[in-house]
């Protein structure tokens, strides 16, 4: 189970992110939302996610981890089917 979690997180983190980072954070955030929740982020979510991105100047991977954590622990991910 721990493996599944780690696996999913690293998938989210590594899904050709370096290329997407070049295209801008919003594409990364968009991709995370579609992967976890099968929907686009709302404007409020984009703003909040961008702010998480902004709080890490060097370690963007950490920012992605934080966003992925929030998505994987959201009720929408846990309970919706």
């Amino acid at each position: 189970m721990r493996f599944q979690q780690t696996h999913l997180t690293s998938q989210l983190k590594n899904a050709r992110l370096s290329k997407q980072l070049v295209n801008g954070y919003s594409a990364v955030i968009d991709r995370l939302y579609w992967t976890a929740l099968s929907r686009a982020p709302t404007e409020a979510e984009i703003a909040a996610s961008m702010s998480v991105m902004g709080s890490y100047s060097h370690d963007r991977g950490a920012a992605v981890e934080d966003i992925a954590w929030a998505l994987l622990n959201a009720k929408e991910f846990l309970f919706r089917r």
Binding site: D66, I67, W69, L72, A74, K75, L78
Partner: protein, 458 residues
């Protein structure tokens, strides 16, 4: 349908850190619990400290001396009078003798399980095992630990864990059942740790965040999670999501809580206090028990030893048969009795002086007593038919004896008490109706206790 999904998802834990046994289903059962709360009585004991004397202490050499029995039966130690009228205890428990006015002795504990595993299970669960078999295997069909039942029926709401057990998992060959939640589900398992409280670097890894996860970062994650939760209408799955926020809040608050971390910080105790409890694993475990109760933990189980012991003077429990050319009376006088006489009186004093003894129930007992007849090794074997349990505080009478054993402490002369009756009394004192039923894996409703000993309640 939700069940399997939730179990799969219960892997998701804050920061990946071990979460003191908390899982999502625990909070999802909140509604069920609220209904059960109606069956609760007014508690006399807010907390219980259960000091389990693994191996089986001799009733005849501790709290049920029979000085007038023949020399083949009576202890080589003499009885001494105590601070309670009419109660005598072993001369090797002089400090304890001065605290007996706090205590109730139940001298007629009785059952028929002669093996450590089956008797241990009976003592830790209040349920007779299916057979008196040393090969009794731990399984989810067997009854849970008392603390897990408390966690199911009357869980803490103060941010502290309900049930903490340490510093051993007891076994005699295989692991003894009833040290965890069994069929109640893992969410009711104790916060269990095996770190030695007597270790100068004692600390719990479960209470610290992983190095890469700062508190700020944890809160940042939580904020984003809450934002995502606000984005969608949750009505369609609100039942399953019940208690979800509280679960995360509780998990995060435990991880970041000063209260929990402070409770486990034995280094903040004055050296003199630590010395009084005894610089032993058991001594420091009992000091920690007082700290946990003070911080609001409801049920603390301290195991005296990890093994039944009985052959050495520096480790193990009370199982002194005289095997391997050892002799009981060259062991208990150097190890089990001195440790007991240092630690138990100190715990009672400490609870009393902090005003905690009135609502903290201390239970001291083993899985059985020992044979009245001294064996060919000048020692004693297993004897479940009659033994003594000591209780103090938490609403039990002070300086009281319940039940009288016969002239050799071989059988109860009156008022026999089964382990389920003692369990019922503990639940009753905690404000939990001992007739409450819990549901096992086959959907059978099982009553948690036997007949409460109303007589010992003050």
């Amino acid at each position: 349908m939700f069940d399997s999904q939730l179990h799969r998802r219960s892997m998701l834990r804050v920061g990946g850190a071990g979460l003191l046994g908390l899982t999502i289903p625990k909070l999802l059962q909140g509604v069920e619990r609220a209904a059960k709360d109606k069956t609760r009585n007014k508690p006399r004991a807010k907390s219980v400290i259960f000091l389990f004397q693994w191996g089986g202490p001799s009733q005849l050499d501790t709290f049920d001396m029979k000085p007038n029995a023949p020399s083949t039966v009576r202890s080589p130690y003499r009885p001494i009078s105590s601070s309670a009228d009419g109660i005598q205890v072993c001369e090797l428990l002089p400090e304890m003798s001065r605290r007996m006015h706090h205590c109730t002795l139940v001298r007629t504990m009785t059952h028929t399980m002669k093996n450590h595993a089956s008797a241990g299970y009976y003592a830790l669960s209040g349920h007779a095992p299916p057979a008196d078999d040393q090969r009794l295997r731990d399984s989810l069909d067997l009854f849970p630990a008392y603390g897990s039942v408390v966690d199911q029926l009357a869980p803490n709401t103060n941010g502290m864990p309900t049930f903490v057990a340490y510093p051993h998992v007891i076994r005699d060959g295989s692991i003894v059942p009833a040290q965890h939640a069994s069929f109640l589900g893992k969410q009711h398992d104790p916060l269990l740790f095996l770190e030695d409280p007597n270790d100068p670097y004692f600390a719990l890894p479960e209470l610290s965040l992983p190095a890469e996860l700062s508190v700020e970062r944890l809160h940042r994650r939580r904020e984003l999670q809450q934002l995502v939760d606000q984005q969608v209408r949750l009505l369609e799955y609100s039942d399953a999501a019940q208690g979800f926020d509280e679960y995360y809040q509780r998990a995060i608050s435990m991880l970041t809580s000063d209260d929990v971390r402070k409770a486990f910080d034995l280094s903040s105790e004055p050296s003199a206090v630590r010395d009084r409890y005894g610089r032993t694993t058991y001594g420091q475990s009992c000091l920690l028990a007082r700290r946990l109760v003070e911080a609001g933990v409801k049920f603390v189980t301290v195991y005296f030893s990890n093994s039944i012991g009985g052959r050495r003077v520096n480790e193990g429990g009370w199982d002194t048969h005289g095997f391997d050319d050892t002799r009981m009376y060259n062991i208990v006088d150097k190890y089990q009795l001195p440790i007991t006489d240092q630690t138990l009186p100190t715990l009672l004093d400490d609870l009393e002086s902090r005003g905690l003894l009135d609502d903290t129930l201390v239970v001291w007992m083993g899985e059985f007593g020992r044979t009245p007849e001294i064996n060919k090794n000048v020692s004693r074997d297993h004897w479940p038919q009659c033994y003594t349990a000591l209780l103090a505080g938490g609403g039990v009478k002070r300086g009281y004896v319940y039940g009288e054993s016969d002239e050799r402490a071989k059988y109860p002369a009156e008022k026999p008490v089964r382990p389920e009756d003692l369990a019922a009394t503990v639940f009753q004192l905690m404000g939990i109706d001992p007739q409450t039923e819990i549901i096992d894996r086959n959907n059978r409703p099982l009553v948690i206790g036997g007949d409460c000993l109303h007589d010992i309640i003050a």
